[in-house]
């Protein structure tokens, strides 16, 4: 379908897909198998200017928005969402700085992130604080012009590989929702170290590690925004980043559909290509329909969000929820269409199915997305004057 992209947006798509095809396709299996971080690809992406798509030109970026970033992520995800996650997570780490950081922080860090010279990461989750962000235990205690951090973040994408971290810590527990603050941490800060690399079901080329803070002293200039704004900044960041996660889903679904449709046309059983069986055709029909529907939702959401609307939480959650669920369904059906071959590692769809699962978990589980959407719907209808009853 024609989504009436501008010349520049088409170039982004074309370039990102060229990278996916020429650079990611040949190595994705190996990186997945060896759980190896895709540094070579990160360098190619850096040189291609894609890391700076959503960053303003004054900070070294391309001056685009969420939509442009989603277009690139989608194309990379057609080949491997492990690699595309490593790319997208740098954006997740950059958003708190971009949205709330002082001009000095922006000038210091955004150009490095935009050029891809350094990767960023986002540190929120802890062992006791997953869906319930308010449960975080990591503390940052003020000491003159410094803060001292103590605690452990877990399952941080790009942990250990990135050099720039946006980390959420409690600065004043008595203040409840106004008690947390984001800080920029740098790899190499004294008292900041990394735990072991996690072994995962999917997205195995991405790195997931603990961030460990032991009396880690940083200057107060590293505060992102004002003290106490951390929880709000986290929610605003997720609003911006969720369409990107959804774009991972769209790309993965498209990749799985492409392989399944070609396979079904070539695989002969009972003397006919299996695509001639209605059961297979209907599967492909559902896969194609759902993939296009999730793309349409993600594109319109991303475009809408680039107008800085006040009600972005609901639509951001909707596209993350929908595209993630669709990717899981489509990749599962892709394995079914390829039958036993689909289950084998020699064919690309088993990896897609393993990878897809993460889309329903990270950046807020899909249950949490439904909670957000449900609460917003409730609020919206509470304000309506019109009544049917």
């Amino acid at each position: 379908m024609d989504y009436f992209l501008t010349e520049e947006q088409k170039m982004i798509q074309e370039l990102a897909y060229q990278i996916a095809k020429e650079k990611i396709r040949p190595v994705k299996g190996e990186l997945d198998e060896g759980e190896e971080f895709p540094w070579e690809i990160m360098k190619v992406l850096a040189q291609s200017d894609l890391f700076g798509l959503y960053i303003p030109e004054e900070f070294g970026g391309m001056g685009g928005g969420i939509f442009e970033n989603c277009l690139a992520i989608e194309q990379l995800a057609r080949e491997c969402i492990g690699i595309a996650t490593s790319f997208a997570a740098s954006g997740l780490g950059a958003y708190p700085i971009l949205l709330h950081g002082s001009t000095e922080l922006k000038q210091e860090y955004l150009p490095q992130i935009a050029s891809g010279e350094r990767l960023a990461a986002f540190g929120l989750t802890e062992s006791g604080a997953g869906s319930d962000v308010s449960g975080i235990q990591t503390t940052a205690v003020k000491d003159g012009n410094h803060y001292v951090l103590n605690g452990t973040k877990q399952w941080i994408t790009n942990g250990g590989e990135s050099e720039i971290y946006s980390v959420l810590a409690i600065t004043d527990r008595t203040k409840g929702p106004r008690g947390a603050t984001f800080f920029v941490l740098e790899k190499g800060d004294p008292g900041f170290s990394f735990g072991k690399k996690e072994k995962k079901l999917g997205i195995r080329a991405s790195a997931t590690r603990e961030l460990v803070f032991q009396d880690c002293r940083i200057h107060k200039d590293r505060i992102i925004g004002r003290e106490g704004t951390g929880f709000i900044a986290a929610m605003k960041t997720f609003d911006k980043s969720r369409p990107g996660i959804a774009a991972l889903g769209v790309g993965l679904s498209q990749g799985a559909l492409d392989i399944s449709a070609e396979y079904a046309r070539k695989r002969v059983q009972f003397g006919k290509p299996i695509i001639s069986f209605q059961a297979i055709q209907h599967k492909l029909a559902d896969m194609a329909t759902k993939t296009e529907a999730s793309r349409a939702l993600v594109y319109s959401t991303a475009r809408y969000m680039d107008t800085e609307p006040s009600d972005s939480s609901k639509v951001a959650a909707m596209c993350k929820l929908f595209a993630g669920d669709v990717a899981m369904q489509v990749s599962t059906e892709a394995v079914q269409i390829l039958g036993g071959y689909g289950y084998m590692q020699d064919y690309p769809v088993e990896k897609m199915m393993r990878d897809a699962k993460i889309l329903q978990i990270y950046e807020g589980t899909n249950e949490i997305q439904r909670n957000i959407i449900g609460q917003e719907v409730n609020k919206e209808y509470g304000r309506k004057k019109d009544t049917f009853f």
Binding site: M11, I19, S48, L53
Partner: protein, 263 residues
């Protein structure tokens, strides 16, 4: 330093078929690409630019569509492009092509280094580079795998030959044809892609180059393709199987049976 890179647009031979009746290339539906060896020349130029700074101009002779090949390499970081296009250039053999390209280099005036791929994948002659250097009366080196700038008017280049590597000191201006060891071609960047899309690429014809009609195109060519044919398929081939050592055993036996000297 001003580097000129000569490139050629060729059919993507991965997808090319020969029509069994007419013995010509089936060009229909075949994508045009930049000759892969020329992308190594572009990469070599970009690496010199990254290291020491340079202006890079890419030139090609071809039909107007060849402008796409120029934009492709501009999107990888090449600064400027010139298209040599004129009906009079049609039917050029390697000599007429070299004559035309050399005239363009002369017109540019300040070129210090000309880079070419080792050969084009459609013609496979590897002649255009050396012919151009001869016409321009400058030194040249072929099959170059590494280039270093020694001083303002000398380069140090390493050539790969069948016997081994040779290292040469070569004065500029000069021409080098390069092989894949110079480095893997980089992909485009978004900024360069946008610049390439908007770039105004000048087209130089026979009049701009000050050439006579007899010296270019078909009339300027010493050779003409009379016939193209697919070589007959040989069916006297043996494919060895088994482990490497088993294959070596078999090969040795076969060579002995064939009375190959020295076996």
């Amino acid at each position: 330093m001003h580097i000129a890179v000569c490139i050629k647009q060729v059919p993507d031979t991965k997808n090319v078929r020969i029509d069994p009746d007419t013995h010509t290339l089936v060009r229909q539906g075949v994508e045009s690409i930049v000759n892969p060896f020329d992308l190594f020349a572009v990469e070599a130029a970009l690496r010199l630019k990254d290291a020491k700074g340079a202006k890079i101009t890419v030139i090609t002779m071809g039909p107007p569509q060849a402008g796409e090949a120029l934009r492709d390499v501009m999107s990888r970081g090449v600064d400027e492009a010139v298209l040599l296009s004129d009906r009079a250039f049609a039917g050029s053999d390697t000599w007429a092509t070299s004559t035309t390209l050399a005239a363009a280099i002369r017109k540019m005036g300040d070129v210090d280094l000309i880079l070419c791929g080792k050969q084009a994948i459609d013609g496979d002659t590897a002649q255009v580079g050396p012919e151009m250097a001869t016409l321009l009366d400058i030194p040249y080196a072929t099959f170059v795998k590494a280039i270093d700038i020694l001083d303002t008017n000398h380069l140090k280049v390493a050539r790969q030959t069948d016997e081994g590597a040779e290292v040469w000191k070569i004065p500029t201006p000069c021409l080098l044809t390069v092989i894949k060891e110079v480095g893997e071609p980089r992909l485009p960047s978004l900024r360069h892609k946008m610049r390439a899309k908007k770039a105004q690429i000048p087209t130089w014809g026979i009049a701009d180059l000050g050439l006579e009609p007899e010296s270019v195109g078909l009339s300027g060519s010493f050779t003409q393709v009379v016939r193209v044919f697919s070589p007959p398929v040989r069916d006297d081939r043996v494919i060895l199987e088994g482990s490497v050592s088993e294959q070596v055993e078999q090969l040795y036996k076969l060579l002995k049976e064939a009375k190959v000297p020295g076996i």
